[in-house]
């Protein structure tokens, strides 16, 4: 029971979206799961739609780097590359 309660607590804390926040449907593609899991932990994914389509691959890479370096997002190099590639391909110029 205690273990179950602890697991439920973790699930709640790790829930990426606020309870009453509609699910943002991004375009399907390789890397989308990394975007949902990483970016969606701190902000709603409508930020991505809103910032499109005007950034090129370098522009999206700079945004991902900003989130890691300036905002402290704990994203590993492999995930960061997958995210930047997904954004450039689906929401870039």
């Amino acid at each position: 029971m205690r273990i179950f309660a602890f697991a439920a607590f973790i699930a709640l804390v790790a829930l990426p979206a606020a309870a009453d926040e509609p699910v943002i449907q991004l375009k399907p593609g390789p890397g989308l799961d990394k975007v949902q899991g990483n970016c969606g932990a701190c902000h709603s994914l409508d930020y991505i739609q809103m910032n499109s389509p005007f950034l090129n691959a370098a522009g999206w890479n700079a945004e991902v780097t900003k989130m890691i370096k300036a905002m402290g997002a704990p994203i590993g190099d492999d995930d960061a590359k997958a995210i930047a590639d997904y954004l450039a391909k689906n929401y870039g110029t």
Binding site: A17, A18, E21, P22, I24, Q25, A41, C42, H43, S44, D46, Y47, I48, Q49, M50, N51, S52, P53, F54, L55, G59, E63, A70, M71, G72, A73, P74, Y91
Partner: protein
């Protein structure tokens, strides 16, 4: 994916839920135009922006859910005072507590102060109260209109509002602890925090001279009512003339500093290139060779009677709107119907003070077909709007003269 049509329907549904003020049938068309976003914002917003009412608010244009960023549609700007439930919402961080007014307090101190204290909401209300009518405009208002586009919250025209704020003077609060002569900045924190603990907390500072200005308040009333939750309940900083980044919501600390405030939100965020904009107010302790903090708002205006492309009847048409600046006061607003070759003075409306929206209107004779309408505002120190965008990487200070087309039949 939302289409323009479903956006329109969402807007209509939002109005029906939101109250009676906009229930007139003709307002639906105007509102759909407003919900259809300001001309020129990134097309990605077509798929994501919707009209949505936050608790206690009328429907606003939702740009992002978390943190919540919602702007007001054009038809909410038909009066010089923006009602509380139509006032835009802007947050940097998504962990936003419901602050309990009974236990709420503001910590006042810092190494630039002679002492420290805590102030409750009751303490604040017992201090001499002052009122100011002032525009609160997000630094990034109209960022979405930047050409080329720049990353960020892609605001159209509606990340601003004007309210009658009531509260205690920040100077009077600082006088309780006393400032040391070497104090150079006053820093502010709000109750909201980041979703992740490594994300920088939103902390801002002002130069002492602006902090102790008689118009700078810690406000607990907005248009005669307690502040809405989403506009900083129970008390927020009001910094008339300066952009919204300094207007700390849910204010919980006031800290006098002998060294410049650091952190992401002071540098590199909220900075403009040195020498690019005609601003008078400087924040010298934060300046470097390349950039300086954004300070006062630049002179600006907005046509609020008609959206771009609006249909009108040929003949006399009255165009109206609002003008504002960084607190010098609006002196003149001019309109042009020939693409800026000739200008004529608009009639100015009620003067609610130098920090307020100033209404204006002028009549034109609309010919059948397309009619161009341009507006340019002047302030009392001779500044005007720009005809060409002054591009900067963060998309701040967009005061390009607006030009719309009215389609007369």
């Amino acid at each position: 994916m939302l289409t323009r049509r479903s956006l329109l329907e969402a807007a209509g549904a939002g109005v029906a839920l939101g109250g009676s003020a906009l229930a007139l049938p003709e307002m639906f068309a105007a509102r759909a135009a407003g919900a259809a976003l300001s001309p020129g914002v990134p097309s990605g917003l077509d798929a994501s922006a919707v009209m949505e009412a936050l608790p206690g608010k009328k429907p606003l244009i939702k740009l992002s859910y978390r943190p919540p960023n919602y702007e007001a549609p054009l038809d909410y700007f038909r009066t010089p005072i923006t009602p509380n439930d139509q006032f835009f919402v802007r947050y940097h961080l998504s962990n936003i507590p419901d602050v309990d007014a009974k236990t709420y307090k503001i910590e006042v101190g810092g190494d630039g102060a002679n002492g420290q204290t805590e102030i409750t909401l009751d303490d604040l209300k017992k201090m001499p109260a002052y009122e100011v009518v002032a525009v609160n405009q997000c630094s990034g208002n109209r960022r979405g209109l930047s050409n080329p586009h720049v990353a960020g919250v892609e605001w159209g025209y509606g990340a601003m509002g004007c309210a009658r704020w009531k509260g205690a003077r920040l100077k009077d609060v600082l006088d309780i602890v006393g400032l040391k002569p070497e104090a150079i900045e006053i820093a502010f924190n709000g109750a909201e925090g980041p979703a992740y603990d490594k994300t920088p907390d939103f902390i801002k500072s002002l130069p002492v001279w602006k902090a102790v200005d008689e118009s700078t308040l810690i406000a607990y009333e907005m248009n005669g009512e307690p502040l809405p939750h989403f506009n900083g309940f129970p008390a927020r900083l009001v910094v008339p003339g300066w952009t919204g980044t300094y207007w700390m919501k849910h204010l919980i600390s006031v800290t006098a500093l002998t060294k410049p405030q650091g952190g992401f939100w002071m540098n590199p965020a909220y900075r403009i290139p040195v020498g690019k904009f005609p601003v008078v107010a400087r924040f010298i302790s934060q300046e470097n060779a390349a950039s300086t903090p954004i300070t006062e708002m630049v002179v600006n205006s907005l046509i609020t009677s008609h959206a771009d492309g609006a249909k009108v009847k040929a003949g006399k048409v009255t165009v109206s709107g609002l003008a504002w600046d960084g607190g010098y006061g609006i002196s003149t607003v001019e309109g042009s119907t020939d693409g800026g070759k000739t200008w004529s003075a608009a009639t100015l409306g009620e003067d609610l003070g130098r920090y307020a929206f100033r209404p204006w209107s002028f009549a034109l004779a609309a010919k059948k077909g397309n009619n161009s309408v341009m507006v340019n505002a002047f302030n009392k120190i001779g500044q005007t709007q720009t005809s060409v965008l002054i591009f900067n990487p963060a998309g701040y200070h967009n005061n390009v003269m607006q030009s719309i087309t009215l389609n007369a039949a």
